[in-house]
């Protein structure tokens, strides 16, 4: 289908790029991206992908907007406190760009629904805030052959990598298994700067745009690390782990498995 006049104007800064053009914009409009977690990473990722005209955005999040979220989760605003995050995010996206179809799951992404969920999308963005969820998304995407962007943030630092079937290390190649609960701090315990979440979430959106349009080199086989204090960006080449439990030649993980989140997070989640 041809782009309407309004679309040509709305997406003119995309279309004018020779790497994207009308053809690339049509790919974005036909693209489907799932964002797991409508928070610090998911908020900027969802907003940039909505603005770019990605046709379908899936949002999965079980939480409601809390006042302490607004320091970084820019898809939500003060009147949204108390609303389900997916409902608040949907409203922001629809106001930003009515071209985008928003599909929401107000609930946890777990072993029993993750494969079904990712199956409907071209690309997945991991915007979750805990290791069990990050490993679950990795395993599900590897098992389903679904390209995805991983990211993690803490304090002033963040890192991200992209996995595409057959290309480079998966998250489990980098980190074999989640650390024991509470061995490594989460943002809730350690803090995080909002703009840092914006940097990493925007990088994840960038990867989704590149994947959908086929432009440039993805962060496959590389871990990009960002230290906001020193303003150092590095990309570290990472090899596949020959005996990776999920992407290796003799995998032992054959289906997604739920792992326990950190105890303090569970308590905090219940009181949130």
């Amino acid at each position: 289908m041809a782009l309407s006049d309004a679309q040509l104007e709305r997406y003119s800064r995309n279309v004018i790029l020779k790497e994207i053009g009308v053809k690339g914009q049509k790919k974005l409009l036909a693209g489907k991206v799932l964002i797991v977690g409508a928070g610090g990473l998911g908020a900027p990722a969802a907003m940039y992908l909505a603005a770019a005209g990605v046709g379908v955005l899936g949002l999965a999040d079980a939480d409601r907007v809390d006042l302490s979220n607004l320091q970084r989760q820019i898809i939500h605003a003060t009147p949204d406190v108390g609303k389900p995050k997916v409902a608040s995010a949907r409203e922001t996206i629809q106001a930003l760009n009515p071209d985008v179809e928003v599909r929401t799951l107000e609930g946890l992404v777990q072993a029993d629904n993750v494969l079904e969920l990712v199956a409907d999308y071209d690309f997945v963005i991991d915007g979750t805030d805990n290791f069990p969820a990050k490993f679950l998304i990795n395993d599900a995407c590897v098992l389903a052959g679904k390209p995805f962007s991983h990211a993690g943030i803490i304090r002033f630092k963040g890192q991200t990598t992209t996995w595409v079937p057959g290309q480079g290390a998966c998250y489990r190649c980098l980190f074999v298994a989640p650390p024991p609960p509470d061995a490594v701090p989460t943002c809730r315990q350690a803090g995080v700067v909002g703009a840092l979440a914006g940097v990493l979430g925007s990088l994840q959106a960038m990867e989704a745009v590149k994947y959908l349009t086929g432009v440039g080199q993805l962060l496959t086989g590389r871990l990009l690390t960002f230290d906001a204090l020193s303003m150092d960006f590095r990309t570290i080449k990472v090899a596949r782990r020959p005996n990776c439990a999920v992407c290796g030649p003799t995998p032992t993980i054959l289906r997604p498995v739920d792992l326990q989140p950190a105890v303090c997070d569970l308590k905090a989640a219940k009181t949130a």
């Binding site: 928070g39 610090g40 999040d61 805990n130 290791f131 803490i154 980190f175 061995a183 490594v184 989460t186």
Partner: protein, 68 residues
């Protein structure tokens, strides 16, 4: 000998092992840090056994669990 640690060239005494480098570099909670030498993972007991040589490129990968 010179070793590239997280992209920075540093000088160490000969015979340094990966386990000793983790201490020298004051890596926090090293048991939860992935170590790669020349893009090869060095794990568990191999950290104490692996002697670094001049020109080795060492990377530390840290868990970052936040996102929301």
């Amino acid at each position: 000998m010179d070793i590239i640690v997280s992209g920075v060239k540093k000088t160490f005494a000969e015979g340094l092992t990966v386990a000793q480098l983790l201490i020298e570099e004051k890596v926090e909670s090293p048991e939860y840090v992935t170590v790669a030498v020349n893009e090869e993972f060095v794990e568990g007991e191999a950290k104490a056994a692996r002697i670094l040589t001049s020109g080795d490129q060492v990377e530390f990968l840290y868990f970052m669990g936040g996102g929301r």
